[in-house]
């Protein structure tokens, strides 16, 4: 049997083994989806309803004021009969923000202690005065501001498709890293027995790598399909580049997995260390919150985390973010070379017969 046939046999065997591992399948396919659903809704405002704001208007043209404020489209106004009634409603938790307009005085009341509404409170603080002064004064409009959502990539980006790209990046990376740890860690004895077979270490390694890569890729495509059909996300996938990035980043993370397996004596310790690495990497990858939000020292630390670059690369291949061709290919070359080097080294170390 030539090496290609052997490779296919190994690939098929590992694919069957992976398909039978329900936990791994769950963690590969459904877990990232749960993440996506939670984060797409919690962090990006996707699917949010208009903010409900209690309002009391003590002004003759209350209806016009209400209509004007509602015409901004940002708020749903719930009218109250008096200021005290509105305050009571806020204390009872019926609303988090209320506006009282009495003559020329605007009182913006809000329930303190909720960081999620502070942005909205600031927004209302700035907008409500402007809207009302525009309504009552014939404006001398000397400047007009036009806001344009600039297309840095091939399609207009949104918070949601940024998060999607991040979740896919993390999914690809964790698949790559943990697959190596489970193969070399949990099945060390099994691997030793395989040495007695006529399969070359490199063929064996290539077969395993190919299996994990195919699973990662299917998982990523599954996620892209669901996010497009269920969450109506828009992206322009450059499949060839996505494929290249998926291969090289999987290779690089497999190499990182090899490092963990080599450094730690047991597979459990390696798996724990890898989990810790992934959690910390996720925090500093700019996936769930922008790296700019971090202090400068932590921003520097974040620039050493590979997840950050893979997330950027995935955004680029989805067409929602810019990356120069040069940077993209350089990143892939670095990932591929480090991955191949470490995997070849690992195949020789782990498949070496015991003396």
């Amino acid at each position: 049997m030539n090496e290609l046939k052997k490779l296919i046999v190994v690939f098929k065997a590992y694919l069957k083994d992976s398909a039978r591992d329900k936990t791994a399948l769950f963690l590969t396919f459904l877990f990232p989806l749960v993440f996506l659903l939670i984060f797409a809704n919690v962090f990006t405002g996707g699917g949010y309803e208009a903010t409900k704001i209690g309002i009391f208007l003590d002004t003759p043209d209350a209806e016009i004021v209400k209509r004007t404020l509602e015409s901004t489209g940002a708020w749903e106004l719930i009218p109250y009969e008096s200021g005290s009634e509105l305050r009571a409603a806020l204390i009872d938790g019926k609303h988090e923000i209320g506006v009282i307009i009495e003559g020329n005085e605007i009182k913006l009341i809000y329930r303190e202690g909720n960081p999620a509404i502070m942005g909205e409170v600031q927004n209302i603080f700035m907008m409500v005065k402007t809207v009302l002064e525009r309504l009552y004064n014939e404006m001398v409009e000397i400047v007009k501001v036009k806001k344009e959502n600039y297309k840095a990539g091939r399609v207009v980006s949104t918070g949601r498709n940024f998060i999607l790209a991040g979740v896919i990046a993390i999914s690809i990376l964790s698949n790559g890293m943990f697959s190596v740890i489970s193969v070399f860690g949990a099945h060390k004895q099994f691997i030793k027995r395989l040495i007695a077979s006529p399969v070359k270490p490199v063929t064996m390694m290539a077969g395993m790598t190919l299996t994990r890569f195919v699973i990662s890729l299917i998982a990523a495509i599954f996620m892209l399909y669901l996010s497009h059909s269920m969450l109506a996300m828009v992206f322009d996938l450059s499949f060839a580049k996505f494929l290249v990035l998926a291969i090289t980043s999987t290779l690089a993370m497999m190499a990182l997995g090899v490092l963990f397996v080599s450094v730690f004596k047991t597979s459990k310790a390696a798996s724990n260390a890898a989990s810790i690495f992934m959690v910390i990497a996720t925090f500093f990858a700019g996936v769930y919150f922008p790296i700019t939000f971090l202090p400068k020292s932590l921003q520097t630390f974040a620039s050493f985390i590979p997840v950050k670059y893979v997330a950027q690369g995935v955004r680029y291949t989805l067409g929602v973010e810019y990356m120069s061709e040069h940077a993209f290919w350089m990143m892939n070359v670095v990932f591929a070379l480090s991955g191949i080097f470490l995997l070849v080294w690992a195949s020789n170390v782990f498949f070496r017969p015991e003396r």
Partner: protein
């Protein structure tokens, strides 16, 4: 006595295990530091939004207002770090390459248009068009564009006011509603209970189901039951061991919050500590219920992971989640962690959604009762002495 010794044994065994120690003892500390770093950074007003500016017009006359406004909001004065670009193309290229967050363009003839519009008065000539370019997907870019838009809009109001004639001006005042005993809002206090609950949840949803299952599978329970140790003693010993583990984690978090972040108020009060014990009781009960259904290690790990993330993120341990879509909100309102974290924050006077005290204690209590009933019914199976 046997229970205490068993508990010590389980505690030491868990403590010596690197993975468990990390997730229960170290991870909450790292998480607290990260959260405080991010939001402490905001509190200092260092948003550092990178603003690119292109002056296609040499500003003069009323146009100078724009320069003045931009200098007022840049550098030490405001949230922006300003960089000037010679051409719009250069600026857009910088925005594309993420070298800046927002690009503000002052097009040609802006000063003239502003002057004409000003002289033309109300309903006069068309105003000068200013352009803001941003990238929606980048959060900072979105925030920066909104700020600039609002600031530039205020220029019109100022021009109208100065133009003379009657001008109806509105005064806006902020009125935060807080309870009499409430403290000023502080992220260090806000995140403290959330991170503490993270430690309790991690212990509960992982250590109980996986711990009992592993001990059953590797035959430890069977061997132990051959000794004078009863299943009940074994059970209480394990619970005590995990309680010690969680206790150590909470002590570590208290030390970090107290000595490093200066979180000193309310956390030593009896009612706060009683709430910690109530949370441990409730969430441990939940963990016991999960262990009642644990059969295969792989499935158990998956269920524990999902439960952990749902309790953390949809329980609002870090960010309030009461405005998520209806389907997710049902989950939010049925989770015990939602009520526990709200209960803790009440002690600081932070009342996020106005839950009643009855629900704060009642919903977790229902979870605890149901969980303990289910666990009791399957006690023999979990302990492996059927």
């Amino acid at each position: 006595m046997k229970i205490i010794r068993l508990g010590q044994g389980f505690f030491l065994s868990t403590f010596r295990e690197f993975g468990s120690s990390f997730w229960i003892l170290i991870f909450p500390l790292i998480l607290y530091v990260i959260m405080c770093s991010i939001f402490g950074h905001f509190d200092e007003g260092n948003m550092g939004i990178r603003l690119g500016v292109v002056y296609e017009d040499k500003l003069g006359g009323p146009g100078k207002i724009i320069e003045m406004v931009l200098s007022k909001i840049s550098g030490k004065n405001g949230p922006f770090e300003k960089t000037e670009y010679a051409t719009r193309e250069e600026g857009l290229e910088a925005l594309k390459k993420d070298a800046i967050d927002v690009l503000f363009v002052v097009p040609k003839k802006t000063s003239i248009h502003m002057l004409r519009a000003m002289l033309g008065g109300k309903g006069g000539l068309p105003p000068a068009s200013l352009l803001i370019f941003y990238v929606e997907g980048r959060t900072v870019s979105r925030i920066g564009a909104n700020i600039i838009e609002n600031i530039m809009d205020s220029i019109n109001l100022e021009a109208t006011r100065r133009h003379g004639g009657s001008y109806r001006s509105f005064n806006v005042a902020m009125e935060p509603i807080r309870k009499k005993e409430a403290m000023d809002f502080d992220f260090r206090y806000y995140f403290f209970p959330g991170v503490m609950l993270t430690a309790i949840i991690s212990t509960s949803v992982f250590s109980f189901p996986i711990g009992f299952l592993e001990m059953r599978k590797n035959g430890l329970t069977r061997r132990l039951f051959a000794t004078p140790i009863t299943p009940l003693q074994f059970f209480w010993g394990y619970v005590f061991g995990m309680f010690m583990m969680v206790g150590l984690s909470i002590i570590g978090l208290y030390a970090l919050a107290y000595f490093v972040y200066g979180v000193k108020q309310h956390i030593w009060e009896f009612k706060f500590i009683a709430m910690i014990l109530y949370s441990i009781f409730t969430l441990f009960s939940l963990g016991l219920m999960l262990s009642a259904f644990a059969r295969k290690l792989g499935t158990t790990v998956a269920i524990s992971n999902i439960t952990n993330y749902i309790l953390m993120f949809l329980g609002g341990l870090y960010f309030p989640v009461f405005q998520v879509p209806f389907a997710l909100r049902i989950i939010v309102y049925s989770l015990p962690s939602t009520y526990l974290v709200e209960g803790f924050r009440r002690f600081f006077g932070y009342d996020i959604v106005g839950l009643s005290w009855v629900s704060i204690f009642g919903v977790p209590a229902i979870w605890a009762i149901v969980s303990l009933v289910i666990f009791s019914l399957r006690f023999k199976k979990v302990m492996g002495y059927e």
